[in-house]
Symmetry: C2
Subunit: 498 residues, 2 copies
């Protein structure tokens, strides 16, 4: 290894450690921190962010990267990929002043606290000034970059490198009429019965059942843990310490199971990373959409499939004999896949889910363009929910306050969820070509071969390949919604007899 | 505020944030972290420590301090105290190379993991190489400083600024014969009955009772929390986020109560700090001995007093009716104060506690001098336990592995525990002069006036005064064991009818 490369690795390793330390502080903030801790925590996160930014954007780093770019030109080598990713991130980061990063971290820490309170009290006015501040900072952030076709491009690029707003709108534009037609057909078909899912389920039993499932998926509790938090998420402290959070909501008690599988999917991506990439720019998943393809695959393509429940249903029924009395596996499978326009994105069925995303994308674009004011959000949210899904949130907690993302100042994030769905179906078609008896394995509760396939073809590469290159490498195709539509049509065709 | 002072505050604030972030990571390591996380966590702590050290010992900081020392000369002002404390710490820190700090943090993170495993398996050999490494680093640390009267002086000074080894040995030398005579007299007196304390107590009920007590003491769960960890400790993330940990041991089930009170005493010190001192060198307690005077006061002078139990015993008895059947408050009071040479420091009674400390002090001095080898520690520990206390540990978990301190690389720490006992009695005499009906208040479960006295006279000053100056300011005397001996003699004289 050249002296320059090892100096680069040392420097980037420190930045990495600072960011991972910040992840621990953020996790603690949501899982453990008493309310008194909020202000200082914001300051601490601001300082860590500022120092990481200063170190990453130092002139020394800039010169090193310039020289390394000449030396390591082959993107198929780890070193070449490392330098390419770091140089791209450097050029972006260099545009953002350290004081701005600190200010944003501080504002977001306060906004998260406010969001928790606002959601608890279902009172948007508590959150509003914080979201206004976050949006003001987001606009300032965009202004640091050269004008793009659309200001939103700058934001989207941070989550999905190289994917312009126009292309996402086009992918969504193709998908929407087909999803809407499907939902319409389902609406006119004979409805499935799911009232038993609203019965009272014991929280601890549901939680434990979720852990049983994710252990089978391969989540290793010696390298992770699951805690309670206001919002389920996955966070990575190292390739051997990848944690997930979850919640329990009385109104949709089994949602906890699917959240566990979802976050486990993210966690397996991180846990399957190449240990040699630790403390380098190649560690962690390559983009949010690819990450989401993993979580949605485990949650939906596996966890809401009939073979899966043919294996797990007897055990679930043993845990909840009275709630599931008289419900056979086929009825249960139909119930958990019931299509029903609803309020909460994370609990939405697969057929309507993407409409929640499309709503958010349009609102975010409006906020960034300035055509939507924060103060009008609850009203706009509720109006669009009626337009898109035909339902009206009874309060802000179940409406505009449901997601934590905007409190972090994360705008540009949401569309990656729908892209993740699309990619998950593309991968699934490929996997089923390579693992002929996958369905049979799932029916037996065997997930090793699936997980290993994902590890070998996706997880181990970390950040080495850009998302679209990775999808092309693995599936032979660009990101394309055809597989997803085939998947939905077949699945719901069978459930609803279309 | 001068530009220089505000630049200084900004720079020192970042160092402060880095250290507090490291405290969060350490807490997580002991409370939550899955075993897989250990290696990366060591690296993260090493990086945070290294950057904090680099920032604190920068030339810019050095020049600033030089100039500020000329400008702020009055130690009675906050600014003067801030500059004095920072300059002293700077001069010490400047001697220690950043790479060394990182190496020590890395070694200690691994050693903590090894200690947890070694203690669990009661196998010193698992911990031995880590302690050897820690000791090697400690010796290297001492070598960075000018030769002192004794190499141990350098270590002690980090915990108790300005107190030389010889003086501590003298204080202990004065105290020891009196404590030994008292223990002897007690040994010859009629023994108290305490077998009921060894009965089975429900863990959750004990834990909850402890929380009831510390809430009454004034521990505010909106500004802190109590978690389970292998070793009870207090840690500060900000003046409004001060956490404690605790454990439950079946063999001494009520020890959990006294640990809660003890750690609460530390926490109240931190929670009572002046918010204006946050992110400055004046935040937090002034020394470990003064800190320990607070924890031991709440644990012993309050928590093991008869008035305290006159208030709480009926409630305890309600929680544990069968275990405490036929035991009246006086018998309970005697039982929890039973003097009995025993194995575990943190569970030791007040009459024998200091002997545990004296044993550790002599062993540490031996290790640092080189007259004691790590490999011989279990044997030496057990031999001295027989000499000092007449008991022999049945295994290393209850012997040399009982305390976490050496795994942190903390050598020089233990004697501050005994000094804390001594100071607590000095303060107690003073408080009882100023709060005439304190005993009556405690009997009613009222702790506000005591806590406020401590806040006003001790807590609010943070690091402003050096420990001996603070003790002199508050009590009019130097650190002196006379009050402690008076306290022990009166208390045990009454319990044992001496």
């Amino acid at each position: 290894m050249s002296d320059k490369l090892s100096k680069f690795k040392e420097m980037i390793g420190e930045v990495f450690d600072l960011n991972r330390a910040a992840a621990v502080l953020s996790w603690d903030q949501q899982v453990n921190m008493p309310p008194g801790g909020a202000e200082a925590r914001g300051q601490q996160l601001a300082t860590l962010g500022k120092i990481a930014q200063e170190k990453f954007t130092s002139d020394e780093m800039g010169s090193l990267l310039e020289e390394l770019k000449k030396e390591y030109t082959d993107p198929e080598t780890d070193e070449g990929a490392m330098v390419r990713v770091a140089a791209r991130d450097y050029e972006k980061a260099k545009r953002v002043p350290p004081e701005f990063v600190a200010e944003q971290a501080m504002a977001s820490a306060k906004a998260v606290e406010a969001w928790v309170e606002a959601k608890g009290k279902s009172d948007f006015s508590i959150f509003r000034p914080h979201l206004e501040k976050n949006l003001e900072l987001i606009k300032k952030y965009v202004s640091f970059f050269p004008p793009a076709d659309h200001p939103y491009d700058v934001l989207l690029d941070d989550y999905e490198p190289g994917l312009p707003t126009a292309e996402v709108r086009e992918i969504f534009g193709n998908l929407r009429p087909k999803q809407v037609a499907l939902i319409k057909a389902i609406g006119e078909a004979k409805q499935v019965k799911s009232d038993f899912l609203k019965k009272s389920f014991n929280e601890k039993k549901v939680w434990d059942f979720g852990e049983t499932v994710i252990r089978k998926f391969g989540y290793d509790f010696r390298r992770g843990r699951q805690d309670k938090a206001p919002h389920p998420f996955e966070t990575t402290f190292s390739v051997d310490d990848v944690r997930i959070t979850n919640r329990f909501e009385k109104n949709s008690p089994l949602a906890t199971l699917f959240s566990a599988m979802h976050e486990c999917g993210h966690a397996l991506y991180e846990l399957g990373g190449n240990p040699a990439y630790e403390r380098t720019p190649l560690a962690s998943g390559t983009s949010l959409a690819v990450h989401e393809s993993q979580s949605r695959m485990w949650e939906n393509l596996v966890g809401r499939s009939l073979p899966f429940w043919e294996h797990f249903y007897p055990e679930l029924k043993k845990a909840f004999p009275s709630q599931l009395n008289g419900v056979n596996v086929k009825s249960f499978y139909k119930a958990i896949n019931k299509v029903e326009p609803s309020l909460i994105r994370v609990n939405a069925d697969e057929a309507t889910y993407n409409l929640h995303i499309m709503l958010r994308l349009e609102i975010e674009i409006g906020m960034v363009e300035g055509s939507i004011a924060v103060k009008d959000l609850p009203e706009i949210w509720n109006a669009r929910m009626r337009d898109y899904l035909g339902v009206t949130p009874p309060n802000d907690a179940q409406g505009v306050l449901q997601d934590i993302h905007w409190s972090y100042g994360s705008i540009g994030y949401f569309s990656t969820y729908a892209l993740g769905n699309i990619i998950s179906a593309q991968l699934w078609e490929r996997i089923n070509k390579e693992i002929k008896n996958l369905e049979e394995q799932i029916r037996k509760g065997q997930f090793v071969e699936l997980r290993e396939w994902l590890r070998k073809n996706i997880h181990q590469y970390g950040h080495k390949y850009d998302p679209r290159d990775l999808v092309r490498k693995v599936t032979g195709n660009d990101i394309d919604s055809a597989a997803y539509i085939r998947y939905l049509t077949e699945k719901y065709g069978e459930i609803y007899g279309l």
